[in-house]
Assembly symmetry: C2
Homo-oligomer: 378 residues x 2
Amino acid sequence: MRVVVYGAGQLAQMMYLAGSPLGIEVQAVDVNNDSVVHPVSKTPLDTTLAQALESADALTVEFEHVPERLLDEAAKTGKLMPDIASILVGADRVREKKLLDSMQVPNCEHRIVTHPDQLADCVDALGDKLILKASRDGYDGYGQWRLTDKADLPKLTQAMSQLNLAEVPLVVEKMMAFDRELSLIGVRNKQGDIRTYPLAENLHHQGQLHVSVAPATQVDDELQRKAHDIFVKLAEGMDYVGVLAVELFQCGDTLLVNELAPRVHNSGHWTQSGAVTSQFENHLRAVCGLPLGDTSAIGPSAMVNIIGCSSFSRELLSIDGSHLHWYGKSVREKRKMGHINVTAKSYVELGEKLEQLGQFLPLSFFPKLVDEAQRLKA
Amino acid sequence: MRVVVYGAGQLAQMMYLAGSPLGIEVQAVDVNNDSVVHPVSKTPLDTTLAQALESADALTVEFEHVPERLLDEAAKTGKLMPDIASILVGADRVREKKLLDSMQVPNCEHRIVTHPDQLADCVDALGDKLILKASRDGYDGYGQWRLTDKADLPKLTQAMSQLNLAEVPLVVEKMMAFDRELSLIGVRNKQGDIRTYPLAENLHHQGQLHVSVAPATQVDDELQRKAHDIFVKLAEGMDYVGVLAVELFQCGDTLLVNELAPRVHNSGHWTQSGAVTSQFENHLRAVCGLPLGDTSAIGPSAMVNIIGCSSFSRELLSIDGSHLHWYGKSVREKRKMGHINVTAKSYVELGEKLEQLGQFLPLSFFPKLVDEAQRLKA
């Protein structure tokens, strides 16, 4: 079988590595030049995009910002999974919010803003602690702003008037006092079978995921069930095929959906060592119409992102249960270079191992590691 | 880092897949034409063998019958691991027996035969239940014969006189009434660190491995320790670097070494799902001078070889904890086409899963599966 992935980054690479044992050949599309490349070496393959689409059994994406002309072309083959509507939900916060609301899936209270003057209405409706998010990110990273004091409203309104909000609206959300950020990775195959992984707890810093712990601590059956039910509602409602990541805010017993990612997701990388079947294998199983693999956790595990640095001691591999995943990219500030998965028999042991890990890493690039190690050890 | 593997079969392929996350690029040498190929696709890479050897950090083998001119060339670089002497031990039963005897490692009672007339002496010394093994296999499979009745000695002597025993001697072994066949996979890195996996129990049929169960049932600490000590003696005595497989006969409390394989080994494929670190990753860590990974078993697991057949239901993936490893080769009688790893929480559950597995497979190609499932369930 053959699967073509739009995007030639680390997610396509890890799909290739997961597919190969199953006899699934994964090819990657470099969307910058429409070439078909080997997902690991990135060398061009001896095939045109049209030929690759023709010979593929399934087409999928590793990121949601695939140019729409490519998505349209892919959709026409009838082999694109998830479908184009699902991918666009991940690429456009307005679509996302409309979907969540239409399915009555709990999410943060919000307004859609297409003109700067509407910001004042938002303050009236949602209060003066707001997050403003551009509905579409593009490739250049975040377009996010915060209002924490009503006095700053004129200045913010002025700033927003520089943007073309009619073209790219804002989603304005009430800032939530949530307890923590969780994510649920789930998968639905062509046959409609669904399986979800245990919830992961995610630690962010400056908008980037740094550490995931899975299964998240202090999750009872009830909370896991709630997350599972949200996933089922979304995946069935969207007629979704593949892995879908659901980012959640936990507020007491309540789960609010923060964001959807219609693809394998960084907060699911722990499944490579920590679950019976990885998210990458399950995504491929799903789009190829194969039975889904067991999503159970093997034990407590953590995923630590390596961001913006390439210089660290490979002696970290001396920690039992540590596995390095290196993406082979040139280093840039804030760039995800790789990740380290760590498995353990208990959360305390996991904390001890993360503490050891810190001794092999330049800690300024790992701002969440030491505190999380201490928390788990306690 | 880059590792060049002599041999472009499934073992090189699985090394590639294990190396990629670590940032280790594995290239394979097709020893039939000295070309350097991609270990998965088998397409030629844009490099000569000489260039590949020059740019490699380590050279290793996926089988012991690499032409000696290639091994000599590899050894000259100083990067070949394990070294040439260790590889030749795996390729030549006379060398193997001499090594085992010189290190006082228990093995089957035997004689080296270089002339047919010596067979009569063997009967006098070892009895009339004998296995005769050509010291070198070559690519054409086994050269093995049996004597089970003294009356057949003249006929056997006559048959052996057709061979050039002076060139390729026989190792003649006393047929052992062993309880079962076990194997120990272990690894030693450049620094001299050693780790061994739990013993696996191996079920053969007509000279081919069909099923491994790991950790083997009914292994106490004492037996595991004995196997570990044998490994340490061998690996240190040979100054071995990489994964070394030790095939053993268990006779009561005694372990006899049957055979050594100086490489990753089929009886270690269970480590892909069943152990914290796979044999493939550990082999690469070893030859690259990285710290070794945890060799602990995660739980009971089995490896089922797919031999000589390519037609079976992919629905076998519906069994929780089942993972298919397909080598992508054209089907031939007796050819290893792939394997299935199955993990479980208990041996009883493992037996149940193997029983389910049987329902998806053409059982005539899996002669050991059903009985082993029943044994584990009991």
